[in-house]
Symmetry: C2
Subunit: 339 residues, 2 copies
Amino acid sequence: MAVTIEDISKHLGLSKSTVSKALNGYADVSSETRARVINATKELGYHPNRAARSLRLGRTNKIGLLINSPIQFLSDYINHVMSGAALAAERFEQNLTLYTKEVVDAEELRRICRAREVDGLLLIFDPLQDAKNILVEEQMPFVVFGRRSAQAGVSFVSPDNYFGALMLTKHLIEQGHDRIGFMARPQLGLTNSDRFAGYQQALVDAEIPFDPTLVVETQVGQRDGSPAFLQLLRTSNPPTAVIATNDLMAADAIQSAHDHGLDVPMDIAIAGFDGLKISEQTRPTLTTVQQPLGRMGQRSIEILMQHITDNTLPPIRETMPVELIIRESTFLKIENDSN
Amino acid sequence: MAVTIEDISKHLGLSKSTVSKALNGYADVSSETRARVINATKELGYHPNRAARSLRLGRTNKIGLLINSPIQFLSDYINHVMSGAALAAERFEQNLTLYTKEVVDAEELRRICRAREVDGLLLIFDPLQDAKNILVEEQMPFVVFGRRSAQAGVSFVSPDNYFGALMLTKHLIEQGHDRIGFMARPQLGLTNSDRFAGYQQALVDAEIPFDPTLVVETQVGQRDGSPAFLQLLRTSNPPTAVIATNDLMAADAIQSAHDHGLDVPMDIAIAGFDGLKISEQTRPTLTTVQQPLGRMGQRSIEILMQHITDNTLPPIRETMPVELIIRESTFLKIENDSN
DNA sequence: TTGAAAGCGATACCAC
DNA sequence: GTGGTATCGCTTTCAA
């Protein structure tokens, strides 16, 4: 069943080396021989054995996708990333190997490196504290996806969280809000602080004093946006608008508001972050900051390939533009003024 | 950086063969030697090179996930499947390799087989017409996920579409509906006809005559449920309830109904299929038939592993139970009768 | 322009 | 119980 290079060579009465050279574009092969080889290759259905090639060449042509996240967070988000990554990987003739565990531990990571399972890794969501150190130690190229990394020497592709939050907050202020709740997810690290900075800058620009009671932190591992939202509602002077951590939590918040007899956006405006399909399907539809997840996925593979090809390359850090998408959940269309 | 079996053998003053045997549980190794080897293994951080192992053993310990679908259909659905598959694969110490293309063509499939990229394939969504034939020819084990296959000799894991549609239709009838629209996706093949059979059986059981104008086919590649839904509404005698092809299309339908000033479920009831997270997040929340996607993903990997281990195994075909989940989109709570 | 042979890192057969 | 060696399929150096 399996056709090897030896089958081709016997079939043509040539040596294995000549066949190999013909296939790998060496110059010292007569064009006639090359043609015969290529022909035989098609005729017999030869495809070089991946394992043998990997062993000989020392590269696997595989990229690992390390999705270090509880499955509940595996929303639409990851699908967009994966499809972008898959597209780019295909162009580079790389396979994508999936590593999805709640927690990929250090030992596992070492194994992936030492066993040479992949040529490089794309880290999606929070990498382990020491994961990056291990990868650096093992000289395994990697790119962090979706968030900035404070660590020196780390390449990443991140959305412009600061600007996104800034635009979103400005929009809410324009809609007349001056008490804007902010759902923070502390474990998001720089993502969180960037967004928070954007939020605060918008307040400063509008000369709205910052009120810390409007900031509520979601719990670690919390996937439901309702508790944080309700906590905001229960404060003595609740917000009239809320920025949720992401679209999924925003959808939960809308649900909660609805359950409590509140109209969105009349009684409370709610905005999300990410720009997933669900933001079009909530009722009211959701205002959100859209990340170019597909393109980010592509870019991160491209950057990773550069690192794989040239391991002396300095880190590449890209922040990609986001887009404010205004929908019903924050937009008071039934307006009274002339402004 | 990379530690090989030779490093271990030199370190201990043993031969490579002894080290290998110690690691692979051969009996003819003294327990003392075995202990020393295992110890050195940990000390030096040895992990066997995957490519070398694959080449020698003729297996890759990789399972391919062939996701043959336009990206738009890559919803939450695939995430549940993947996480189940990943869980099972991990237990079998298999890696998952992702093949996501709109269309994986025959040539590509042949390459995957001949190059021995994987030990087996999980086919998600519609496999190519001749894909299965190629795989059989190449003796590549595979399992079809999510749908029955009429082809003899093909293993699959499928939801109980017939029973799901039966229960769902009965529920709608109980809610007082006797004009129930049915959105069909012809390209779904047996999935479609099984559900349709369930739908019709429920009508028969309730002695409701079947009206073909209530069946509307969605277009190939159509992801938006609105057009089909609107087509149903525009008939001279429109339905009072609609069964959508899946939750995503149902969500679109709800949106459409809303846009046309119709209340769901008062003016029209809408039900989905699949039981994805979105069914909890629409407004009203969506009645649906929930598939155990995670467990189905697990099972399909388990079955695939059986085929990989024993290639004489007859096909395994499993139909997994589904669950009717009644939510707001079909449930008239504000009722008037005592029944 | 072609071919022989070494070697990538592992496993497994067969001597000893 | 241990070690030498062939082998998996490929690429690449070197010799012819």
